[in-house]
């Protein structure tokens, strides 16, 4: 999974941005940083959180980011310095655009009914515009957004899909096309964080047949850049899942704002550590999977025993996200833990149209996605069994044909000569070639009377050709067919025929005729004493 450091090049916090946390392993509550800690602890207290909970959050963030626990003090210090009112830390402005969405991601992130330690981290940013969360509304709020964009260096959060349909009119906000809003807002952003799978690949809105032309943010901006409507695309961090997990967002924010870096991204611009392992690999029901203990029906005894949901179409084995570790709703549970098979919501792929996560995983209770065939949506297994059935029936019918034509007892009689060779005697590999070689050895002209022989297509003509060409010295049989056979035998006695592209590897020399028999059809039969690899064991 290749990180994309190039995306990070040019990524700098604003000159007045957050101070990079000082290095060092000392805990931040040590003497020396007392004033800010006091202030910060007051804020924690106001929110009903003790310092121990706070440090546990920092440890969780370190784990999510893949950092060593030695980084916990550094993260704690960075958080303390950045939280509003704790120090002179200045907040990074942020715009939260809500496009075609169900507001589920906002709900997921803003569900802090009671004071929540995660909201402290969200206090790192100054959210100047968010349709759902902002207290203001209407013109004044749009004005605030405009001023933020003008000032530049803000974080742009985008929730929901962009709609290109009807020339961009499928989605209008504040009398402006969604496409134009995004292009404008992206122009001066520090970074774009696509929150939830809809912003990543279009999500539900982009599912077949996608009449509104829903598209993810990254692919849309690529198109806008190719069309010359925007000059550059700021770094994009895709944070899929449906809805987005607050823990994932916090981890990304800590990376971007406090550690002044982009998280390590995979080829889909997702944080590699969050979306690097399959859900299956970390699933608490994995033991049941290995034991072969499955739920086949909801409401069954197996379901009550929390058996593996694989047979119910769980997409855990092919979906990469750390859901089983981070869990949801303040770590109280997640889909599989609450009894639902994984729907694969994290498998959003912004790089390809037509591989929308919903299309890729529906039906959610089936093991395969359906494949589209001319507007039909068919289970791949149905097609496979259908084709196999047709082949099996065809073979059975063919078998009756073989029986009817008497080929089942050793096949039909062999052709005397290859059909192609008959028409091309001078290039032939069969009897004609042998005759040609015989002619060469005997110094005769080949082909003799080629023009009339080449026209011959029926058996007697060809046999005549063989006779005339080179078999005359040895063939004594009367019938033309026998003649052709004798021609081959003769050639075999004359010597090895050197063929282009294939050489029989064995000692040079003429095969010795041991016995000569004649079959009822008059074919000359002979045996060759050829050395056999396993000749001695019989």
């Amino acid at each position: 999974m290749a990180a994309k450091p190039s995306r990070f090049s040019g990524f700098r916090l604003a000159p007045s941005g957050l101070k990079r946390p000082t290095a060092g392993l000392c805990v931040s509550s040590a003497p020396g940083s007392a004033p800010s800690t006091e202030n910060f602890d007051q804020i924690l207290e106001q929110r009903g959180v003790n310092r121990r909970d706070f440090l546990k959050l920092c440890a969780g963030i370190a784990a999510t980011l893949g950092l060593s626990q030695a980084m916990v003090p550094q993260i704690a210090e960075a958080l303390e310095e950045s939280v509003i009112g704790a120090t002179q830390g200045k907040l990074v402005p942020a715009i939260w655009l809500e496009l075609a969405s169900c507001t589920g991601c906002t709900e997921s992130l803003a569900q802090a009914e009671t004071p929540d330690i995660a909201t402290i981290v969200l206090d790192m940013i100054s959210l100047t515009y968010a349709e759902t969360l902002s207290a203001g509304a209407g013109f004044s709020l749009e004005e605030a957004k405009e001023q933020t964009i003008e000032a530049g260096d803000y974080l742009l959060f985008i929730e929901g899909a962009l709609m290109e349909g009807w020339d961009g009119n499928a989605l209008r906000i504040a009398d402006e096309k969604g496409t134009e809003i995004v292009e404008h807002a992206a122009s001066r952003a520090l970074a774009i964080i696509c929150v939830g799978s809809c912003a990543v690949d279009g999500g539900w809105q982009a599912a077949y047949p996608n009449p509104g032309g829903a598209i993810g943010i990254a692919p849309y901006l690529e198109k806008a850049k190719a069309a010359g409507r925007i000059e550059t695309i700021p770094p994009i961090i895709n944070v899929p899942t449906c809805p987005s997990n607050p823990e994932h967002l916090i981890a990304v924010l800590v990376d971007v704002l406090l550690l002044s870096r982009l998280p390590e991204l995979n080829s889909l611009s997702e944080p590699a550590l969050i979306f690097g392992q399959t859900i299956h690999d970390n699933c608490p029901r994995r033991g049941h999977f290995e034991n072969g203990e499955f739920v086949y029906k909801f409401g069954s005894k197996e379901e009550a025993q929390s058996y593996c949901l694989y047979a119910m179409g769980c997409k855990g084995p092919q979906t990469k996200a750390n859901c089983p570790i981070v869990r949801w709703n303040r770590r109280s549970g997640w889909c599989v833990e609450s009894g639902a098979p994984c729907a694969g919501c994290a498998s959003a792929d912004p790089t390809k149209q037509g591989f929308n996560w919903v299309d890729l995983n529906a039906p959610f209770l089936g093991r395969f996605k359906n494949v589209g065939l001319g507007g039909l949506s068919i289970d791949p297994t149905f097609i496979a069994y259908g084709v196999a059935g047709v082949v099996a029936v065809a073979l059975v019918i063919h078998g009756f044909g073989m029986k009817a034509t008497g080929r089942t007892k050793g096949g039909a009689p062999f052709e005397l000569e290859r059909a192609w060779d008959k028409k091309h005697p001078d290039e032939a590999v069969g009897a004609a070639a042998a005759a040609k070689e015989a002619a060469r050895v005997e110094g005769r002209e080949w082909p003799s009377g080629k023009t009339e022989q080449a026209q011959g297509t029926d058996a007697s003509d060809d046999a005549t050709a063989s006779k005339g060409a080179g078999a005359n010295s040895s063939a004594k049989a009367d019938a033309a067919g026998k003649d052709a056979m004798s021609a081959s035998a003769t050639a075999a006695q004359v010597g090895a025929v050197e063929q282009e592209g294939f050489a029989v590897v064995e000692e040079e020399g003429e095969p010795e005729i041991l016995e000569t028999l004649t079959t009822p059809t008059g074919t000359v039969i002979y045996e060759e004493p050829i050395e056999s690899e396993e000749g001695g064991d019989r």
Binding site: S267, L268, G276, Q277, T278, D281, F289, N291, G292, E293, F294, A311, Q318, S347, D349, F355, L360, F368, P380, T381, L395, H398, G399, T405, T408, K409, G410, G411, A412, P413, E415, R418, A419, W420, V429, G430, A431, S488, A489, A491, A492, V497, Q499, G501, F502, V504, V505, L517, T519, T523, V524, I525, Y526, E527, E528, I530, S532, E533, E534, R538
Partner: protein, 232 residues
């Protein structure tokens, strides 16, 4: 007696063994693959996955062994002869096959009454066998794209992203399995429809008399009834 004599030189012992291993590995892979795709009964997943991975490796190693041995072992270039040639030449299209593709297709479709002359393998047969090593490699590659311990390794990860995700890889892997199944349908059918002698030779090394083919003249030159005129 219209078929060629079946001599052991057509299938030297090492190739009989690799054929046996192919049969066993493919059957186990297909059965466990069906189970892994959808487990119809309980209690077998751990064994099925272990066997699937093990025999996947066996199939690949067996294929590589077979290909390498083809350069060191000689086999009969056609039925009906005890002469031998380097096996890789026998496996590739050879002079005996030249211009015979149409004839074979016509024969199979009952448009041609007499049996086409050929080499040890007819033209369609030879093309199918040549495709198999590549199919096995693609199977192994897509299998490793799906296997947890290898799915994030560069080439596998890159290919998965290229085709659009693990679901797509699964469907490719599944359909390729059906290619193997259909191959086996046709292979078993064609090997036995004109008599069981080819199967007895391949699996049991039992020889059978028939017409004698001379690879030097690329044609049938006689007849060898092993039982009546037992030689050697």
């Amino acid at each position: 007696m219209a078929h060629l004599a079946h001599y052991r030189e057509a299938h030297p012992l090492p190739f009989v063994l690799t054929h046996w291993i192919n049969v066993i590995a493919m059957v186990i892979l297909i059965l466990t693959g069906f189970y892994i795709h959808y487990p119809p009964f309980e209690g077998f997943m751990g064994v099925a996955r272990g066997a699937h991975i093990l025999f996947g490796a066996v199939l690949v190693l067996n294929m590589l062994t077979r290909v390498v041995l083809a350069f060191f072992i000689k086999s009969a270039p056609t039925g009906g002869t005890r002469e031998t040639a380097p096996d890789y030449k026998v496996f590739l299209p050879q002079a005996d096959n030249r211009h015979q593709f149409g004839a074979w297709i016509k024969y199979y479709l009952f448009l041609k009454k007499d049996h086409p002359l050929g080499a040890k393998y007819g033209v369609p047969q030879k093309l199918a066998y040549l495709a198999l090593p590549f199919l096995i490699l693609i199977m192994a590659f897509t299998g490793l794209c799906l296997w947890g311990p290898t799915m994030n390794f560069g080439p596998f990860y890159g290919f998965t992203e290229l085709v659009g995700g693990l679901m797509v890889i699964r469907i490719i892997h599944y359909y390729l399995m059906w290619v193997f199944i259909l191959f086996m349908f046709v292979h078993v059918y064609l090997a036995n429809i004109e008599g069981l002698s080819p199967t007895k030779l391949m699996f049991l090394r039992k020889e059978h008399g028939g017409l004698v083919y001379d690879p030097k003249v690329h044609n049938i030159v006689g007849e060898d009834d092993l039982e009546q005129h037992g030689h050697h």
